[in-house]
Amino acid sequence: MLDASKTDNTLLEVNNIEVIYNHVILVLKGVSLSVPKGGITALLGGNGAGKTTTLKAISNLLKSERGEVTKGSITYRGERVQDGSPADLVRKGVIQVMEGRHCFEHLTVEENLLTGAYTRKDGRAAIQADLEMVYDYFPRLKERRKSQAGYTSGGEQQMVAMGRALMSRPETILLDEPSMGLAPQLVEQIFEIVKSVNENEGVTFLLAEQNTNVALRYAHYGYILESGRIVMDGPAAELRENPDVKEFYLGMSDEGRKSFRDVRSYRRRKRWLA
Amino acid sequence: ELVVPNLSYRTGPYAANGIPYADGFNDYFTLLNERDGGIGGEMVATPECETAYNTEKGVECYESTKGEGALAYNPLSTGITYQLIPKVTADGITLYTPGYGRTSAANGKVFKWVFNFPANYWDGASVAIKHIIDQEGGDISGKKIALVYHNSAYGKEPIRTLEELAKKHGFELSTLPVDHPGQEQKSQWLQIRRDKPDYVLMWGWGVMNQVAIQEAVNIRFPMDHFIGVWWSGSENDVAPAGDKASGYKALSFHGTGMDYPVYADLKQYVVDAGKASGAGDQVGTMLYSRGMYAAMIISEAIRKAQEMAGKSNVNAAEVRDGFENLDLTEARLEELGLPNFAQPIKASCENHGGPGSAKVFQWDAGAKKWNEASDWIESDKDVLNPLIEEDSAAFASENNITDQCN
């Protein structure tokens, strides 16, 4: 099992970063994490914890949201990357699947997928082959390939976003809520895809996910983020056994899973950090 | 010190026309200062203010300069003129608008503070028609004359007059408006090509002039049957059409070219001394001459005022009297180094409009100069005076003005 202690294998390292939006809103208050090569690392945490922000900080998309990394550093393969552009990073092999799909509405599904291959130089045939691969993963997309992405359903758009990222043949994929809005069997399927891409092609994953349950089953290592700080980290298997994680993220108390109908009072959120 | 603000425009859509005019205006006063030590011993200051042909900037310029003791304004914009008429009336400063502005201001009985000699748009229309009559040997009944005009207050000015003249002389008038800015005039010129009017008159300004002349060339309209008012007759207007613009005619109420003795002084005291306004490359052009003309009239009015007041340091009210009593003779023009440059003017309380004559000039593209194609032609006062009476009476009644000359 891979773990995230700093090794020569560390591909991506985030070192104590602080992120401020709009010059005034402090969102990340010192987040550090490292992603080992060939691993699947999960970033967990509640709404507004800062998962998306962390991923955007890594992929340099923050600037376009008027956010900035004011402290700390981000390195990829030991190189500082936070000053470049997102395109530079894609060329280095890091690609992000953004939260909320972000398809190109006016492009067809197929064109959307092809934009994923924008930076590739390995020729039409290889791209075509990958297109087929994506269609294999998501047969639904093949049916809708000629539709404008803006007119596809939420789940279909999510598939497009995933497929588009796969098309770029990256070394590392940052996945933001890949399972959101997908039907249950597709959620499993997506994670199976993640797993197989990871195992067969050695692609590294950093995924932010609300669906802690699945995420911890597939990930090797996990970080738990709360209010802009990492509050806990450890190998996924250990996290899964942690009683707090169990209670708050997996919805299991000692008696096993409770029915949603039976949760009678709103939970007082227990926080590691008040 | 005498202050004559120069409300000019060297930017915006009409910059190309504003620049030579402003240069001529400034240079003439510079000449007076450098050569004669000003007027009657008082130096003249011409604080320049950029209006960009924009009425609001015009107001700003007016307000910002009037406090400096301005003696007269010459904004070179009909729009700004209309704005300033009430303001100068309230402030007691002369508004001098040679060849533009409010035509009926020629009636001094109503417009005490406004002068527009030597000629106004209506004079221009009349002069152009007279020239055509001359060309046609005295009879133009049944002829077709088209007016291509800037679709604005300015461009519409001559229509009334031309309609009257059409009645009188029996020609057929058609009018073709061109919208600002006038980049596209295909429709108008196709119509001209079809209707084959005998003459085309033009009341244009800015890019409209250039395009019209180019289009006239394109349809091979005989250029010597194409006559522009004085604001459609600068070197700028004919230049883009190149050689084929030769023969195009335009009116002017003053001479142009470098042949006047004053240019020797101007060269010596202004240009060679490095005191020329702007880039100094406009000297002698049509609009430069016009700017100079305006400056010359203002300076003569000031001289008259000094003479009447018996002091050199005249104020705005005295300068107005100077304008009203201006008596510019041929001899005086000769003295100024501008022989036959302009028509003599004898103003009076009633007459703020001057003789109303103009000459026709014709463009020679080879020599790149305007040649005189007629002598002074006087406008048809019989037709114009009633029109002026009518319009100024309307203004007088709207504003409760009684005859100011009694």
């Binding site: 401020i20 | 009425t55 209309y82 009430p86 709207e398 504003n399």
Partner: protein
């Protein structure tokens, strides 16, 4: 700490929906009003009134009007010049046709007439959106200008096609015409502006304002939660044109005194007012003031510095002025895309946190 929010608790919704919920803001607001009504009139002269104050007040009215349409309701319009012309010609016709009625009412009625015209030209907004709509509103601009230029009835058949404002008084004081004092002009416009700003504020803080904003942010969703797009968009056009018409009326009658439609109300005017709204801040009444102030004052200021102080030739100064204005617009947008109003808000937020950031 310069700026206090803490300790300023609200105990009722009434207090909470005040225009300036923070006491410090409220005080400053009263101070500004006091200065504007009590002190400025004492010192104002022709130059300040005609070159700065009056155009600022009138443009602020127009900018508030346009801001309602663009900033609140999200319908970009480039027809402002044309609508101002409607106001101007309406007030001119009213002033000459009913000389005995107080000009104040003429101005208001001119506003209503403009509102009606605005509604007609607002109809396409039901189908057309975004920049398409913006360009489509140019049809209004060009058509109205053409109409006022072409039909002599509008300018009372005057020879030149110019309209001249006759002299009118309010409480025996001239507010239009040559004899108007700087103070009278200023006060008249200031009173109208104050009323306009108040009404605009009332409209934007309540249901109507929320409907507009809902349509702006997501028209489909707005419709699904119960906003009728037809009435909402048209009401925005009506209210906006009402204010713009008032601005046009004042612009002609009080400020210029004479106008020609193509020149005074041409397309540049539409753009100018749109610039004010965007630079000031979309969806902000304060922004309308800031934008108007910025675009009225900056050129005057630059002119005075470049020509007056540095003594540059006017043309060079004018060109460089364009460069500076353009450069500043871009710089402001980069610094804060949501306009001066937002810049001000962020500055306040920073001040509030000062000296302990975060």
């Amino acid at each position: 700490m310069f700026y206090r929010e803490a300790g300023d608790f609200k105990t009722s919704y009434r207090e909470d929906s005040q225009t300036f919920p923070i006491k410090f803001d409220r005080l400053r607001y009263y101070a500004v009003l006091a200065v504007a009504f009590g002190i400025v009139p004492l010192f104002i002269n022709d130059y300040w009134a005609n070159a700065v104050a009056v155009p600022f007040l009138i443009y602020a009215i127009a900018a508030i009007g346009l801001n309602i349409l663009v900033g609140y309701a999200g319908q970009v319009s480039l027809g402002t010049g044309g609508f101002m012309a409607v106001g101007a010609y309406a007030v001119y016709k009213l002033m000459t046709a009913f000389p005995d009625i107080n000009i104040f009412f003429h101005v208001i009625i001119a506003g209503f007439i403009t509102a009606a015209v605005g509604v007609i030209f607002g109809l396409p907004s039901l189908r057309i959106k975004g920049f398409y709509l913006a360009v489509a509103t140019l049809a209004a601009q060009f058509f109205l200008v053409w109409l006022f230029n072409k039909v002599p009835w509008f300018y009372n058949y005057s020879a030149s096609g110019q309209i001249n404002a006759p002299e009118r008084t309010v409480f025996g004081v001239f507010v239009t015409g040559a004899q108007t004092s700087a103070m009278a002009k200023y006060m008249f416009c200031l009173v109208v502006l104050t009323l306009v700003a108040l009404v605009a504020r009332n409209l934007t803080r309540g249901t109507v304002g929320r409907k507009w904003m809902a349509i702006r942010d997501m028209d489909i969703a707005a419709e699904i939660i119960g906003v009728n797009p037809l009435t909402t968009k048209l009401s925005a056009f009506a209210v906006s044109s009402f204010f713009i018409g008032i601005a046009g009326a004042l612009f002609f009658a009080v400020y210029l005194g004479a106008a020609e439609v193509g020149e005074a109300f041409g397309i540049q005017k539409s753009f100018l007012i749109l610039f004010m709204v965007i630079i000031g801040g979309l969806g902000s009444i304060f922004g309308s003031f800031a934008g108007a102030a910025f675009l009225v004052l900056l050129p005057v200021f630059l002119k005075n510095v470049l020509v007056g102080t540095l003594g540059w030739p006017t043309d060079l100064a004018a060109h460089i002025e364009l460069m500076i204005v353009g450069g500043l617009i871009v710089a402001f947008l980069i610094a804060e895309p949501h306009g001066l109003a937002q810049l001000w808000r962020v500055a306040k937020e920073k001040l509030r946190l000062w000296p302990f950031p975060h």
